[in-house]
């Protein structure tokens, strides 16, 4: 019988089509660079990267659900664990950890020690204020929104800014009740 229940991130990553990470890393770097040239304002670039991530997240969630076999998470705690252990692994090939839960279980940190987006990246002084990996926060926000969770995702630590790890703070703002998918004819 086929195993039921969620698959591990490692198992999924081993089975998906994979490509050379250099291509991904350098392409992302080139996009950030081009956006800096075109938009000039670092704030604007942060916004665009977040928007790009959001758009990717709302599409990537389908692939995530289909391949991971993850069904409904019982609470936000489980959701965060699944993102860290399965989501990051199956797409980026790295695992993250979840820490810093607040008392009511609606805000936590996803910590990334290894991040393929920043291989070979060094930011010049002119890029102060840039959240280089902002696409990642957008992806998480977009993906969660598709499973009825409104979140706010911000960077608490950033290795490109001298911190020891990447830390994303994920705050659950609102759990939208699921709507019946079909509207009655009026």
């Amino acid at each position: 019988m086929a195993p039921v229940g969620p698959r591990s991130g490692d198992a999924i990553f081993a089975n998906v089509e994979r490509v050379n990470a250099e291509l991904f890393t350098l392409t992302y770097g080139a996009i950030v660079r081009q956006l800096l040239t075109d938009l000039e304002e670092v704030e604007e670039v942060n916004k665009q990267l977040d928007q790009m991530g959001y758009n990717i997240g709302i599409r990537l969630i389908d692939e995530f659900l289909a391949k991971s076999n993850v069904s409904r998470c019982v609470d936000f705690k489980e959701t965060a664990e699944v993102i860290a252990k399965v989501g990051f692994k199956m797409f980026l090939g790295v695992t993250a950890s979840v820490t810093n839960w607040d008392a009511d279980g609606t805000c936590c940190s996803i910590v990334l020690e290894d991040n393929p987006l920043v291989d070979f990246v060094e930011l010049p002084d002119t890029c102060q204020g840039l959240y280089y990996c902002n696409i990642l926060s957008g992806v998480i926000r977009g993906a969660l929104e598709m499973v009825s969770m409104k979140t706010e995702v911000t960077w608490a630590k950033d290795m490109l800014r001298g911190d020891d790890v990447f830390e994303l703070q994920v705050k659950l703002l609102k759990q939208v009740p699921e709507e019946y998918p079909y509207k009655d004819d009026e």
């Binding site: 490509v19 990470a21 770097g29 080139a30 996009i31 938009l39 665009q48 980026l92």
Partner: protein, 176 residues
Amino acid sequence: MGREVSESCVDSLLTEMVSSYCNRLYANKPELAAPRIEAIGYQVGHQLSERYTMERPRFSDHLEAIKFICKDFWSELFKKQIDNLKTNHRGTFVLQDNKFRWLSHMSVDPSSENGSTVEDNSVAAGESKATQATSMHLYFPCGIIRGALSNLGIPCAVSADISNLPACSFVIRIKA
């Protein structure tokens, strides 16, 4: 074996990059979006070619460099080589990939029988939206090839021809 990421990461990023430039940043101004997408490709090609040739002697002539693009370079990116290489021996090379990976996930409007050609950043008027979207996606690999060759000291112009889908031909014209 170097580090890998899932193919969907690259696919999603490329799709979103093209869509950001064409639909948000320079909506309805393909003449502004196209050179930027090409420039992103150029940068990537330049850097990749630098990495992949680090431990190699210099290429003795243009053909050697083009062969490197067809074999080693293409294999690093697509896990396959270019299927067919033609040249007029006067500085024009045509590299054909019989099933170009970055187009295989895209739906192309079958009504555009003649396909389309991406050339000199001009997008022919009147072509369907889908064809135009495909052309936009081709500026990126064209830029990659131009960047890679430029890093090898070969200035050139690169265009793409998709009149035989799913095959895609890249036409390289070396500047004298």
